[in-house]
Structure formats: C-alpha cells, structure tokens
C-alpha cells in the first residue's frame, strides 16, 4: 500500500501561504510582546503576578470579581514597587472552572519566569490539580475562594488560602442553625459538585453531632430548573430547617419552588449563595433565607466602605464578596514579594523565597480579613459569617460571626 504522490504543487503553495500567514502573524505577535516589554522595561525589572479564575462560564461573575480585586491591589501598590525598581504586572488567566484548562494555564504560568505568584482559583476542583503544578515550579498561590479541605490538607508548600475551610464553614452554619435557631429536623440538599457535597456533608455531620435529626439528604442536578421532585420529599418529611450545599442558580430556584409548595421552613446555604443572583432569581421568596459566607460585609467598616466605593468607581461594578478577598490575597502576595526583595538585597527574589515568605505571613491586616497562615496554608484568622436576607436585596444583613 504504497501511496503515490499527493499534491506536490500544493506543497509549495501551501508552504508559501502558510509561511506568509506565519510571517504576518508572527510579526503582530512579536510586536505585541514587544509593546508589552517596552511598557514594562520603562520601570525596570518586571514582576508578574498571575490571576486564575473563571472569566467565562457559569461562575464568571465571581471569577471576574477575583480578577478585578487582584488588579486593584496590584495597581494600588505599583508605585511602591516602582520606587524599588520593579514594574508590577497582572496576567489574568481564564480557567473556565475547568480543571484541564486550569492545569494547562498553570504550566504556562510556571513557564513564565517573571511570574512570582498566583491569585486563584475560585473552584476547589480547579485549585487542587493546579496546585500540584505550582508546587513543581514553586510558585506560591493564594486562593481567595477555594474552601475544600483537600486543597490544603495535602500539605503543599505553595497552597494557601485566606478563606475558611469547608469543615469550618459547614459546622459553623450547623451550629448557628441548631443552637441559635433551634432547628431539630433538618433536610439537607446538595448539588453533587465537589463544593456542594463537601459543604453539605460537613453541615450534616455537625448538625447530627449537635443532636438534630437529619430528615433527608438528597441531591439535585446542576443546571436543572425543576426541583419539585426533591422538594416533594422535603414536603413529606416536614423539616423545620432546610440546608442547601450548592450554587446560587439552583439555590434561588429551590427556595422559590419550596415556598410555592408551602414549605415555610427556613432555608440556608453556603457562601455560593452570597451573590446578587440569588435575589434576582428568588425575588421576594428569598426573604428570611440565610447563608453562611467566608466573606465579610465590608461596608460595615469605614475602610471597607471607602474601598467598595473606590472599586465601584474604578470598574463601574459593585464589589462582589470575593473582590475584596482577592484584593487582600494580592496584598499578602505583594507583601511577601516585597519582603523577599528586601531579603535578596533589592534584587528580584527567587520563587522559593516568595513561597516561604507567603507561608510566613503573620498579622497582615487587610480590608476584609486579617491573615496569618498556619503550617498547611490555612488562614488562622478566617471567619465564617452568617447572613440573613431581611429584604429581597443583596447583600443580606450580618447576623452572626464565628471565628475558630
């Protein structure tokens, strides 16, 4: 089966066409990088911090918030670094909430020697595999949002987070539900994602420990709109409290459909309900629903309010819960970079140095949270906040605050 010549003339033409395209394309690419390079070189050595979050897909609102929060912190500090002879640059990557994309991006980040740190990711399912890649390249990462226990439990040197763990958030919510609200017969729903399941299980176990009965533990499917099946079970069990581990798109519909069915039990969810989308979907039915969050309501403090106004002015968008955590994460990262620059005598520090400096962070005071990392990268000052939607308006009002 020897094959005969196939289009030899086409070879020439193809080649010329391809190389012509290549040349023009190559030129634009090159000029693009050059342009980037020149703006960089104006201020001296470039230090890049990458951000990775879903800029597209179903959680793009939060992902965008992370990017913008990080960008704001970076721009706020850029003069400080310019004085030291460095130019800061943010390289935003889009992980699309997809582990494969996240890992591929991480390899690119690892390859770029100018990158000294990563702010991200949003989803624990992406943070976990990506952190393995960062570990290879010794790039420290600070996640402003990933709460899965597995993320830091693998004791990687690079993985840090400023927010509370699921096995802190879930139990904190359970304590509030059982001790404060007197819930005895709790119906737990989860969405079969790594996030929802982890949270719901942590909640369920703690609630049982505190003496409440679990009336049911059911699952729904992400992306569906009809949750009557699961709610019919709940209707049957007559719970006095419903907990949902999952995202706001489903949470909003659940609470709405539950009310339509005459289920009046209080409804509570995790930090993924901490979104304006929740109110948009459930409208008036959202009233009296609760959510636990790892993010504080920054508008409570003067500084926070000023910050939120600045954010709004800068990006023409309201600050989301994660914006400020991304801001604080970036600030922690930049502090670490700065201290390792000092340690290296004003020269660009190694990634290892920055990594260790991040882990060594103590008593950092940010807009939203204080930060000090323990030996596996969890923030010992991380708190869980319980909010309640008093009105059909986002955000809800803070009703309780739990620290470790």
């Amino acid at each position: 089966m020897k094959r005969k010549t196939a289009g030899l003339a086409s070879l020439v033409l193809l080649m010329s066409v391809v190389s012509a395209c290549g040349n023009s394309g190559g030129n634009t690419a090159a000029s693009g990088t050059e342009a980037g390079g020149t703006t960089g070189s104006a201020g001296g050595t470039v230090i890049k911090i990458a951000s990775q979050s879903p800029l597209s897909g179903s959680s793009s609102i939060q992902g965008e918030a992370i990017r913008l929060g990080a960008q704001m912190a970076l721009e706020d500090r850029s003069q400080e670094f310019k004085d030291l002879g460095f130019t800061l640059e943010l390289v935003p990557y889009d992980d699309q909430g997809d582990a494969k994309k996240g890992v591929a991006n991480s390899e690119m980040i690892g390859a770029d020697q100018a990158v000294l740190g990563v702010i991200g990711h949003l989803n624990s399912g992406v943070s976990i595999p990506s952190s393995v890649v960062y570990q290879k390249y010794n790039i420290p990462m600070i996640s402003p949002a990933s709460t899965a226990t597995e993320f830091t439990d693998r004791k990687l040197k690079v993985a840090n987070r400023v927010v509370a763990r699921d096995d802190f958030q879930g139990p904190a919510a359970a304590q509030y539900a059982v001790n404060e609200l007197g819930a005895k017969n709790i119906f737990v729903i989860q969405d079969k994602t790594a996030y929802g399941q982890g949270l719901a299980e942590a909640f369920r176990d703690e609630a049982e420990k505190l003496g409440a009965t679990i009336a049911g533990y059911e699952a729904i499917t992400v992306g569906e709109k009809d949750f009557n099946g699961v709610l019919n079970i709940a209707l049957n069990k007559k719970p006095d409290f419903i907990f949902f581990g999952g995202l706001y798109a489903e949470g909003g519909l659940l609470v709405k459909q539950a009310r339509e069915k005459g289920i009046t039990a209080p409804f509570m969810g995790g930090d993924a309900l901490d979104s304006s989308g929740m109110v948009e979907i459930a409208a008036d039915d959202v009233k009296d629903s609760l959510y636990s969050s790892v993010a504080t309501d920054i508008t409570k403090t003067e500084d926070g309010k000023a910050w939120a106004d600045k954010y709004k002015e800068k990006f023409n968008k309201n600050a989301e819960g994660y914006s400020v955590y991304a801001y604080d994460s970036m600030s922690v990262m930049l502090d670490a970079v700065k201290s390792s620059i000092d340690a290296a005598g004003g020269k660009i520090p190694t990634r290892e140095a920055v990594r260790d400096a991040v882990r060594a962070t103590k008593d950092f005071k940010g807009i939203a949270t204080e930060v000090a990392f323990d030996d596996i990268g969890d923030n010992i000052y991380a708190k869980v906040f319980i909010y309640k939607f008093e009105e059909a308006a986002y955000p809800g009002s803070l009703v309780s605050e739990v620290s470790k």
Binding site: G229, N232, G262, G277, I281
Partner: protein
C-alpha cells in the same frame, strides 16, 4: 414506606403533569420532523430554549412600555406566546434552509452532524445576546401568574397530603392541551395536514400527486418549532429562570418521550411526554425511599435515559408506532 409514597402522590402527579406537558409539546416537534425527514432535529431543544428567551425578552419589552400594568394578564400571556411562536417558527424554517436542506440527499450521518452543529451555535448565540444585554446568561424573567393555591387532596383520602398547585401549572396544562388538539385537528382535518401526512408516507409519490414537498417540509419545521417556542414560554413562566443550556437535556428527554410514544406518531408523543414527566417526577421523589437512600434522586436522569435505551432496544417502534421494515 408505602404510606409516605402515597401521601406525596397527588403532589407528585401534579408536578409530573406540568413537566410532562412540557415534554409532550417539545416531543411533538421532534416527532413531526422525524416523521417527514427521518432526521432527528437535534436543534429542537435549542429552539425551545430560544422560545423561552424570546418570551422573556418580550415580557421585558412589554414591561418597559408599561403594557404589563395596563393589559390583563391573559392577553399579555397570549401575545407573548404568539410572538414567541412566530419567531421560533421562522427560526425553525431558517435552520431547515441553512443546515438541513442542502444535505437532504447526503448520508444521514452528515445531516445529523449538521444538526448538532446548529444546536451548539444556537446555544452560544443566545448566551451571547443574553449576556450582552443583561450581563449574565442566567436570566430571571417576569412571572405573570404568580399565585399558588392549595388543593384539598387530603379530603379525597386520608392517605394523601394536601398539595400545592401554581396557577401557571393550569396554564401549562391548558395551553399544552390546546396546542396538541389544534395540531391534531390540523394534521387530520386540513388539506395541508393531509399533504404533510402524504409526504411523511412517501415523499416521491407525494410529489407526483402535485404536493409541493419543499413547502410541506418548511411548514412542518415552522409548526414544530413554533410549538417548541410556545413551550419555551410556558417553561420560562413556570420556573422563572432560564439559561441557554436548558434545551439540551430537556430536548433529549422530550426525544425519549417521542420514541416512547412511537416516533412520527403525534398522539404517541403526547402520551410519551406525559409518561416521562410523571415517571421522572416519581423517580426523583421516591427513588431514595425505595432504595433506602442508596440511590437517591440524583439517579433520575439515569432512569430517563435507561427508559430510552430499553425502548429503543426492545420496542424501537414505540408503544403506538408501527414497525417499519427497512427497504433495501
């Protein structure tokens, strides 16, 4: 166990009926197109989704114009459904023109691939438009009939609990029945309906009988898609929140319904839709109970797809269809 299944049964039946009515009307679109072209119109689920978005957008426009407060709800509802039907009907015709007609003589595999392509393009187009206008592709619309009322099913028998019905559920079931009756009448009683059935039977012969086959196919796509669009509006009204990806899995289940009822068979599709809706709701409410929590409601989709596979294997002609021998 049995008593708790029974006590929730009336509620399960009502919810299942609402869902089933939606499946049934969407299934009609699949079955009509398949009857005529022997092609699974993969994009039909997306046409349904487009209908939901068109309806929601129309309501927003009405609201901006102050029309909502001045006109009675049912007129608005009717208008929204009508507008959505016209737009999705035209969309269906457009899809046929662009993606299916050039391939009518091509192998089936090729038209199927084109159909899948259409479905992806539509998803992304709607996503794009929704995101551009509202900033988020998950859109919550305006609900026209928000109320619910309690049905005293417990007075029927003490084993039952009371059940709650949304007003919109009645509208869904009512509109679905109306649409199906209208379609049934159209297909069986009008000249165009006869032409449609003739083309479905034998395209060549029909064309010899001076039936304009192309026109009939266009008409079929228009009607099937318009039905899908109308259901989209009903769906958006029932659940309040829509996104561009609602059509894919729902379409698959509606197709299951069409297959269950016997593809190409309009009454079969109605029956299949209701059956799948009821079964799905029953499964999701009771699977956990029956298996003692080992396999919960998260398996309800497995259940739906398993029905599809079983029907296709053991009774591919469906419950009401006639077996077709392949011509060599």
């Amino acid at each position: 166990m049995l008593s708790s299944i029974l006590s929730s049964l009336p509620q399960v039946l009502i919810d299942g009926l609402a869902l089933g009515a939606i499946y049934a009307v969407v299934a009609l679109g699949y079955t009509m197109v398949y009857g005529i072209l022997e092609l699974i119109n993969f994009a039909h689920g997306e046409v349904f989704m487009t209908g939901a978005f068109v309806g929601t957008a129309t309501l927003f426009i009405f609201d901006d114009a102050g029309f909502l407060s001045s006109a009675p709800g049912w007129i608005v509802y009717f208008l929204v459904i009508l507008i959505s039907m016209i737009i999705t009907g035209l969309l269906g015709v457009l899809i046929e023109r662009i993606a299916y007609r050039p391939l009518r003589r091509a192998p089936k595999l090729i038209s199927l691939i084109s159909a899948i392509g259409v479905s992806f393009v539509l998803q992304d187009l709607i996503r794009f438009i929704a995101e551009l206008i509202t900033g988020n592709y998950i859109v919550s619309g305006i609900s026209l009939f928000r109320g619910t009322f309690e049905l005293g099913t417990s007075s029927l028998s003490s084993t039952f609990n009371d059940s709650f019905v949304k007003n919109n559920t009645f509208i869904i079931i009512g509109v679905a029945i109306l649409l199906m009756l209208a379609l049934d009448l159209f297909v069986n009683r009008t000249k165009w309906g006869v032409a449609m059935r003739a083309v479905a039977q034998d395209r060549e012969t029909a064309s010899l009988m001076s039936i304009n086959v192309n026109k009939v196919i266009v008409l079929t796509f228009f009607i099937g898609s318009a039905l899908g669009g109308a259901t989209g509006v009903l769906f958006a009204q029932q659940y309040g929140t829509i996104d561009p990806y609602i059509g894919y899995i729902l379409g698959l289940k509606a197709f299951t319904a069409a297959v269950l009822g016997g593809i190409g068979n309009i009454r079969g599709a109605m029956f299949g839709g209701l059956a799948i809706g009821l079964l799905e709701m029953f499964a999701s409410a009771n699977l956990g109970l029956i298996t003692h929590g080992n396999f919960g409601s998260e398996y309800k989709d497995v259940f739906a797809f398993a029905i599809l596979i079983l029907v296709l294997i053991f009774k591919p002609e469906g419950l009401f269809g006639r077996a077709v021998k392949e011509k060599v």
